[in-house]
């Protein structure tokens, strides 16, 4: 008799977690289900891969330690919607990167509208920060040019 539990991969080579964005991304509201792929050798870069449309993916990073003085402030309504706060349920923050060129490396980060993720519920939203005026949608992260 088949044991269903045995069919589930006990250990995947590429750890991935599902991330749900009920409202989609800004301007792309059909993209609601993603997989956050973390490959050890690629950190701090990670991939957010669409589960709705094959071949669509973003390169993302967590800003901690990489973007000095980044203070992401979100509206109370967004915090409430996601069930996150500053204390017991801090969100995970992911900034979408645009890889303009690989050689020389030129990469910018969208600091205006990060993806705010409640890693407990796996629900996320791309939020425009209330202090968005302090930041750029194309902040230079790597610029070898």
């Amino acid at each position: 008799m088949l044991n269903l539990h045995e069919l589930e991969p006990s250990c995947t080579t590429v750890p991935a977690t599902t991330v749900y964005l009920p409202l989609g991304l800004v301007g792309l509201n059909d993209l609601k289900r993603f997989e956050l792929v973390t490959e050890e050798e690629s950190l701090p870069f990670r991939r957010l891969r669409s589960l709705d449309t094959a071949g669509l993916e973003f390169v993302v990073i967590a800003p901690e330690g990489l973007i000095p003085d980044y203070s992401a402030q979100i509206a109370d309504e967004d915090a409430e919607l996601l069930g996150v706060d500053n204390n017991e349920n801090p969100p995970e923050i992911l900034n979408i990167l645009t890889v303009h060129s690989v050689n020389p490396q030129r990469v910018t980060a969208n600091l205006v509208a990060p993806i705010i993720l409640n890693s407990r519920t796996q629900v996320a939203k791309q939020v425009i920060l209330t202090n968005y005026k302090e930041y750029s949608t194309h902040h230079p992260l790597i610029d070898e040019a």
């Binding site: 009920p22 409202l23 991304l25 800004v26 301007g27 792309l28 490959e39 050798e41 690629s42 701090p44 870069f45 991939r47 071949g55 669509l56 993916e57 973003f58 390169v59 990489l66 309504e77 919607l81 979408i96 990167l97 645009t98 890889v99 303009h100 690989v102 490396q105 990469v107 969208n110 205006v112 509208a113 791309q126 425009i128 968005y132 949608t137 194309h138 992260l141 790597i142 070898e144």
Partner: protein, 87 residues
Amino acid sequence: MLTLSRKVDETIRIGDHIEIRIKRIEGDIVRIGIEAPKDVPIYRGEVYAEVKAQNLAALEQARQNSAGAVLQQLRLPTADTKAEQKK
């Protein structure tokens, strides 16, 4: 485009669930209150346009460069590489 004239404290309803209220007018600045269901995101037009364009650019560049391959190559500049670049 439908164009309506409204005074301060007058409202506009869009469908059954969205209400827009003119709160204050000072010179060329209008303060507007919006009540909408939680699943209706509200954006300033120019910020929406810029974030959407950046999302599309990020998707397109990840597709062109094949994000999986790119990830192996990207390196954040460290103190060492910065020094090397200066040589």
